[in-house]
């Protein structure tokens, strides 16, 4: 239900620069307002163009509670419409993806082309002369924009340009693609679907939790490589790594300064350990990158950054390691997360096969990293119910963060620069 303009409640008092009120994670009324003001009124990530590569391909995505069909017609044009028959509202498509020239409503047989036009109405003679099929196509999503294969939509009547919204996040989408020698990725390796009993905003960006939440990952690394005095240092206040505020709620962690082995997902050959000549596939892969970037040193420098841009495009997209992660809020206390692995275009098959195994190791639904993140999100939701002291603290590094030419603010990896960046945008949108 849409609240009339001017009658919206303001939630700005719940977010201060150094702390936020826990009701924004637990209150169902605030959640409903978030759906209206964020998910239905702001640019959000919808799909990647590789999911609908061929003419006639479509997939169905859900933004908040609204199902959206994204399709590619025979001329290659990508469109997005709501999955709702214009007659009595049934969902016209019941498969998550496929290839179709038409969508036929199962209720009374109204039929739409994959351009969204109403092309067939059974027994149309019982409508009057003013019945106009051209006005009854599937409702179009108001704004659709693509940036280098990433498809975003806004359900708002008016939206800023996509480039304006992406702002300083865009160069990191670019960087993510450069792990492929031809800037091509495909989300063709299936999906890793998970759900947790916690608020969607917990899927944030946090450089402080690694040594604690992922203690067993460090244990596994110690087991593989032997004990090290440097254990965990990259995720500590002694780390040269950084947390970045990119503006518009976008943020990232920059782990290119320290030894990047602290994340299991980066351990796979063909990923981070590019200076160690591996198999023939590695040689082919590195040679193709070297041709583009000029030298092995340039390739190493780039891959060190491209293999984990660790970016959050607010509100619902993250690029973590090789993962394209999409956040879907279900209720204040339930969230779905779908992970896709970016399969690199124009690399030997073995490189992608190893990316898959590496993905499963850390990020997989039953992997060694992400399940512990979701466990913590669930415990957050439990803890926040006890709101005698309702404020949660986001003050870490607040006085020490600095502006830079590339970001609004940059702090130590363990600083809450990223959380403050997201909450500032939340406050702006929920005002």
């Amino acid at each position: 239900m849409k609240v009339a303009e001017g009658q919206q409640q303001s939630y700005t008092s719940l977010v201060r620069e150094d702390r936020v009120h826990s009701s924004i994670f637990t209150d169902e009324a605030i959640f409903e307002a978030e759906l209206e003001r964020i998910f239905y009124n702001h640019w959000v990530f919808l799909a990647h163009e590789s999911e609908i590569q061929q003419a006639g391909d479509y997939c169905v995505k859900t933004i908040g509670r609204k199902q959206i069909i994204v399709s590619r017609d025979k001329d290659g044009v990508i469109r997005a419409f709501f999955n709702r028959c214009r007659h009595r509202g049934s969902a016209v498509c019941s498969y998550p993806k496929g290839n179709a020239s038409f969508f036929r409503c199962p209720y009374h047989g109204w039929t739409y082309s994959n351009k969204g036009e109403l092309v067939g109405v059974p027994y149309q003679s019982r409508y009057g002369a003013d019945f106009d099929r051209s006005e009854l196509g599937l409702a179009k999503v108001p704004h659709l924009g693509e940036y280098r294969g990433f498809i975003f939509v806004s359900l708002a009547e008016q939206a800023p340009e996509l480039s304006e919204y992406l702002g300083r996040a865009a160069p990191f989408l670019d960087l993510f693609l450069t792990a492929s020698p031809t800037d091509r990725i495909e989300l063709s390796a299936g999906a890793s679907k998970s759900v947790f009993r916690g608020n969607w905003k917990f899927v944030g960006m946090d450089g402080y939790h690694v040594n604690f939440t992922h203690k067993t990952v460090l244990d596994l690394q110690t087991r593989a490589k032997g004990a090290s005095r440097a254990r965990g240092v990259n995720n500590s206040d002694k780390s040269p790594n950084e947390s970045w505020d990119l503006g518009n709620g976008h943020c990232r962690l920059d782990q290119s300064h320290g030894d990047p082995v602290d994340f299991g997902e980066e351990e796979a050959p063909g990923q981070a350990e590019t200076d160690v000549p591996g198999s023939e596939a590695d040689q082919v892969y590195l040679a193709s990158l070297e041709q583009r970037w000029g030298s092995r040193a340039a390739v190493n420098e780039r891959l060190n950054r491209a293999h984990d841009v660790h970016l959050h495009v607010w509100p619902n997209l993250q690029l973590i390691g090789g993962e394209v992660r999409v956040i879907r809020p279900i209720s204040a206390g339930v969230t779905e997360v779908t992970g896709y692995l970016a399969m690199l275009g124009d690399v030997p098959e073995e490189i992608n096969a190893r990316r898959i195994r590496a993905y499963e190791w850390f990020n997989g639904v039953a992997g060694f990293g992400s399940p512990d993140d979701r466990e913590i999100f669930e415990r957050n939701q439990v803890g926040l119910q006890a709101d005698q002291e309702p404020w949660i603290l986001l003050a870490r590094g607040q006085e020490m963060a600095e502006a830079s030419p590339h970001a609004e603010l940059i702090g130590n990896i363990t600083d809450e620069v990223t959380q403050r960046a997201q909450m500032r945008q939340w406050r702006e949108v929920m005002r």
């Binding site: 998550p96 063709s188 390796a189 299936g190 999906a191 890793s192 679907k193 998970s194 759900v195 947790f196 009993r197 939440t213 203690k215 067993t216 244990d219 596994l220 087991r223 779905e336 997360v337 779908t338 692995l341 399969m343 098959e349 992608n352 096969a353 898959i356 195994r357 993905y359 499963e360 190791w361 997989g364 639904v365 039953a366 060694f368 399940p371 512990d372 979701r374 466990e375 913590i376 669930e378």
Partner: protein, 165 residues
């Protein structure tokens, strides 16, 4: 798959008994004993989204070789494995057991269905799967060459499935 020979007398009973034992080890989080059932070339596979595909081109919920199985059991035994601290309480039934083939290389191909109830933090979850094993008949017992667990909801969002399936 090599040419199958007839299922020998008693094989079904021996296989069923082995599956019950394996179920007990997984339900009770007896990781080291479970690991000792595996052959070094073993593969533990829980497909994602679909029942069958090339795991080199499609990601899986789990695709463990023996080395990764060791890591999984090490992690599940470690302090700080938050998603299994406290551990899930598990009870599974393995039924509709079929010995589908016995092969000249000494392996037995087995299919079954599994229904698993999990309780943790006051929430009860039910998982159901078709399970396929290739077991090496070692005379007095079996060793696992492969185990494939096809969850009926492997294309749905899954909660915490960090315990042994």
């Amino acid at each position: 798959m090599t040419a199958a020979t007839a299922v020998g007398p008693g094989t079904f009973e021996r296989v069923s008994s082995f599956l019950a034992y394996e179920a007990e080890l997984t339900d009770r989080h007896r990781f080291d004993e479970w690991l000792s059932l595996w052959l070094p070339e073993g593969v533990y596979w829980v497909p994602s989204n679909e029942e069958n595909y090339d795991p080199r081109t499609h990601l899986s919920i789990i695709y463990d070789n023996y080395e990764r199985l060791q890591e999984r059991c090490f992690r599940l035994s470690a302090e700080g494995v938050h998603s299994q601290d406290p551990r899930s309480r598990l009870c599974r039934t393995v039924g509709s057991v079929q010995v589908r083939a016995t092969n000249p290389d000494g392996t037995v191909e087995v299919g079954a269905t599994m229904v698993l109830v999990e309780v943790r933090f006051g929430v009860k979850n039910v998982y159901a799967a078709r399970v396929e094993w290739v077991l090496l008949d070692a005379g007095d017992t079996f060793k696992i060459r492969s185990k494939k667990v096809i969850l009926v909801d492997n294309d749905e969002p899954l909660g915490n499935v960090t315990f042994l399936l």
